[in-house]
Amino acid sequence: MDTGTLKARKPLVVAAPRSGFSLLISVIDNLLRRGVGRISRSPRQIVLDRVVELASFYITQKYRSTFARFGITRDLIFNGEFHLLVGGPKWLEKSNPQLAGFRKYFGVRGMGDFLLVTTHPRQVLEFNDVVHSHTAPALWLQEDYYASFRKFTSIRNPLGIINSASFSLNAMASEYIQNFLPGESEDHIRQRHGLYKLTDLEFFRGLVRFLKGYLDEYLPCQKEYFVMRWEDLITDPPTTICRIAAALDLACSEEEAQALWKPMDHVNLLRFHKHNYRKGKGIVGDWKNSLVNEHLDIFREYGFDHYMEALGYPPVPVLDPRGYSPYQKLIARYLQRGELYRQVGDPDLFGFAFNKSNIDASKFGFKSFPARKWTRVERSTLSQDSVVEAVSDTAEECCEKINQLLFQVLDARLETWSDARDCIGSLEKDWTNLMGEVPDGRGLALYARALESIRSNCA
């Protein structure tokens, strides 16, 4: 056991959304950050980190100015979680696993939204101490680059995952609420959106199909992962955290585990996405208060009895409708009538909150644009294609420039801190030019700060 610098095995977390993914990352991150337990970062990684920070500022400003050309400023919904180059859902590109894909959500009040995928060299994923992804658990195992990583996953009763997804608010919806509906009851928003999602059985099937796709890929390789069950973490945090620490070869007493858990127990863990945690929830078995038998039939229809068994959960049950909660009774009434719940409130918010990431969207008729070298636009509902095309052009152009710089760092001889200083110094002209394109002078200052931080590392 070692409480010191972790040199050998970096952590990688691959898990389905709403399965305890963010909690697992936070637990590992906090275990690593205790005392001197932080992962050591190589000179190359340090330079890459600085470039990612600079690129994040640059590309965010470019996106904003592109929208501004169309008069879209105050109405742009672009959550801070996506400002970072490596922010948003991420994965290894199947067609070229040397690259990582990152999904950004853009929304415009009154106009709709779209998803933009950008790709960069996969090494930028290590900007985060804990490399993480919702996607392709098998692919990560096939890549030699990740052979040395300690691989973790979180699982949760699939009924709980889908139930949680039915009430979730994504980062874009969160941004919209923060900007335009600050006094609105969050619980009420979730309840009314949940009613739509749970009375539209096609939507519900979309959520279940997405999870089925993930599990089909995950189950054959689950033994390669250290599995954290969400229910274990919620019901017995100290023991579960100690097990995770042991898997990282870190010592951790139950008292330390308890202390580590306390600040992350049933709270929101993200900085800009303030609605990632549903207040008063995170309760084992809470799906029994919202799902009804028609939903459970859909689970069975997609073979979830098998998945439940393979994951170690009891089979999909049949509920006694006599024990339905008032909310379940309301859902049952709509299903009985074959009626969708349509009182979803603010149409913009409802559109932004649509689960575009964790749903099989093939049946929903969103617009997709042809893929380009570094970027592609997916699932657009934006009424003005010209805006989407302009943002796509900006993204492609910026990614071309940024990736050139990233490859330059990756190709450079970077073994010592002195190499790192020289490398970042060699990029000065490029960054000065790039930051010169954006009106906000903070970009230039940011480069100076990056230079200074690497110099201080050298010292």
Partner: protein, 574 residues
């Protein structure tokens, strides 16, 4: 005959109402030795009343005078109420009331469990669908009687919203109809509060009003007196006093249910707890129409092209962005009713070794007398098992466990004597007691804090006549804020001879001919009179107030027809 010639006998018929209670009160009062009070009516309303006459005017009387004694029942203990009964008719040998209490209200109103032990209690039940239909008609009729309607607006509907925040999600085509319907379903949902008290006999209204032998046994059981079958038969033949619903309307629960709009059916199914339906089924009621045992239809659900009816939350926002009801939107956890329904479906009584055990039905304990004292204490602390000497004590223990008022309990556990700190601060007395400062409205009169019952406290608080603060400053702050809130605010608008004033969450149109008027101090009767004569309107919005004023400001010949037009305007606004 009463068992003891010296001590009077007492009985209570508990029910949420609309169960032929006025009729039953008259039946019981038929015996010359029996005193009967009914509902919250004047204490002599039945003993001096005329059955036949009331049959002709019952609905109107009940709407206009049905709440006259509300304060007596809200502010006084059961023992004090019985004393008032005896004062009203000293010569009677049996005293009782019908529909003055619900079962939980009765138990919470008793200061001494012994009072409950000495009582004959009967719980009267009616098919929930028929109850809702009648109650709905009653609340809609009450819209013309502001003093009664106030109860639904300010007390019953907010209770329903607290217990069922799902109501905010439901389509609301008409706010007043929605309020009336939800308030009616709340009456059925509240039966759950009665179910937790085991050992009380329940009788179906439908049988009581049609079966002579049952009626006779019930009367005898309650009063200890004999009633002649002929007299009872006459009552059965005469039928109910109050009708509430239109004559000729169907009494078949399924037909009534199917006649409801889908939002009404939704509310009924959502609000009526499964445990209540189970209990009603045990009584042989067919309540299958209220069960949500659905199977999804085979057809694909397709969105309608018509814009959806706004849900209650959106409808309220249309009336007022800061509508007070919207404060209930954020759920803080399951309500008591939902908690009882899902976690704690009542108690059973077990008599063992001279003790009475009230055991939670969720608990798998057969022999509570064999439990170790420590285990028993733990179960009691969790509210799952109570060991008492009498059934009545068990009821009181259950009531205190399930329906506590933590704020009052905390203040009462500290036993220092009450001390008047300041008298008449903006019409409130400030009393220091139990480490807290009580702000008590002077209009309430003297109050013994050490004996203030849950019922009394809740009532005072709902009327904003009491507030418990941690300090004198906090109490004064609350009083100041209360005054500010209750202060009428001019909207700086006059319209066709009316001043428009924002007051108590509505827009009041006050005829300028009334001169300078302080709405806050206007007696309720006077306000109602001004409303009746079209000198004051209470509208949900400025626009609505203007519309109503427009309607009465038509050409002169139509002004004489004001009453009719006003009534039409009111009915349109529903």
């Amino acid at each position: 005959m009463p068992q003891d010639n010296q001590s009077p006998r007492f009985f209570v018929v508990t029910t949420p109402g609309l169960s032929a209670t006025r009729w039953l009160a008259y039946v019981l009062a038929e015996h010359p030795d029996v005193y009967v009070a009914h509902g919250k009516h004047a204490l002599d309303a039945v003993i001096r009343g005329q059955f036949t006459q009331e049959q002709q005017s019952g609905d109107r009387d009940s709407l206009m005078r049905g709440n006259e004694m509300q304060a007596l029942y809200d502010r006084h203990s059961l023992e004090e109420v019985f004393a008032r009964y005896q004062q009203t008719r000293p010569e009677a040998r049996v005293y009782g009331c019908v529909h003055s209490y619900t079962l939980d209200g009765l138990i919470l109103a008793a200061r001494n469990p012994q009072t409950l032990s000495n009582l004959r209690i009967l719980n009267l039940v009616r098919h929930p669908v028929n109850y809702i239909a009648s109650h709905y008609a009653l609340v809609r009729s009450a819209e013309k009687h502001p003093r009664l309607y106030q109860l639904y607006v300010e007390r019953v509907f907010p209770q329903a919203l607290r217990a069922y925040p799902e109501l905010f999600l439901m389509p609301c085509p008409d706010i007043r109809a929605f309020l009336a319907f939800a308030a009616s379903c709340q009456g059925v949902a509240n039966l759950l509060r009665d179910l937790v008290f085991p050992g009380v006999r329940s009788v179906k209204m439908e049988e009581l009003t049609t079966r002579i032998e049952l009626l006779q046994s019930v009367c005898q059981e309650l009063t200890g007196l004999t009633y002649s079958p002929e007299s009872l038969k006459t009552f059965i033949n005469r039928g109910a006093v109050n009708q509430h619903r239109p004559r000729g309307a169907s009494n078949d629960p399924r037909t009534i249910f199917e006649g409801w709009e889908s939002w009404q059916q939704d509310i009924a199914q959502v609000m009526i707890p499964g445990a209540v339906l189970d209990w009603l089924e045990e009584m042989d009621y067919d309540v299958t129409m209220l069960r949500s045992e659905s199977s999804a239809p085979s057809r694909t659900n397709t969105p309608s092209s018509e814009p959806p009816v706004p849900c209650l939350a959106d409808h309220l926002r249309m009336l007022d962005q800061r509508h007070p009801y919207l404060e209930q939107l954020t759920r803080s956890g399951p309500s008591t009713i939902q908690f009882i329904d899902t976690e704690h479906p009542g108690f059973q009584l077990v008599h063992q070794e001279g003790k009475v055990y009230a055991l939670a039905r969720s608990l798998k304990v057969q022999n509570p007398s064999r439990l170790a004292p420590e285990a028993l204490r733990m179960l009691e602390a969790k509210g799952l098992c109570f060991c008492t000497d009498t059934v009545a004590e068990a009821w009181v223990a259950i009531a205190r466990s399930l329906f506590p008022n933590p704020e009052l309990a905390a203040a009462q556990t500290m036993t220092t004597a009450p001390h008047l700190v300041e008298e008449g601060f903006r019409n409130f007395n400030l009393v220091s007691y139990g480490g807290k400062v009580f702000a008590l409205a002077q209009c309430v009169g003297p109050v013994d804090f050490s004996r203030l019952s849950e019922t009394e406290f809740r009532e005072l608080r709902s009327k904003e006549q009491i507030f418990i603060a941690d300090s004198l400053a906090e109490a004064k702050r609350w009083i100041e804020q209360l005054h500010e809130r209750l202060q009428p605010q001019s909207l700086e608008t006059t319209y066709k001879g009316f001043n428009l004033v924002a007051y108590r969450g509505s827009v009041w149109a006050v005829a300028q001919s009334l001169g300078s008027l302080d709405l806050a101090s206007l007696p309720a009767g006077e306000t109602e009179e001004h409303q009746r004569t079209a000198r004051i309107f209470v509208a949900p919005s400025t626009e609505q107030a203007r519309r109503w004023i427009d309607q009465i400001s038509c050409p002169p010949r139509r002004r004489n027809l004001f009453s009719r037009i006003y009534r039409r305007a009111v009915s349109r606004s529903r």
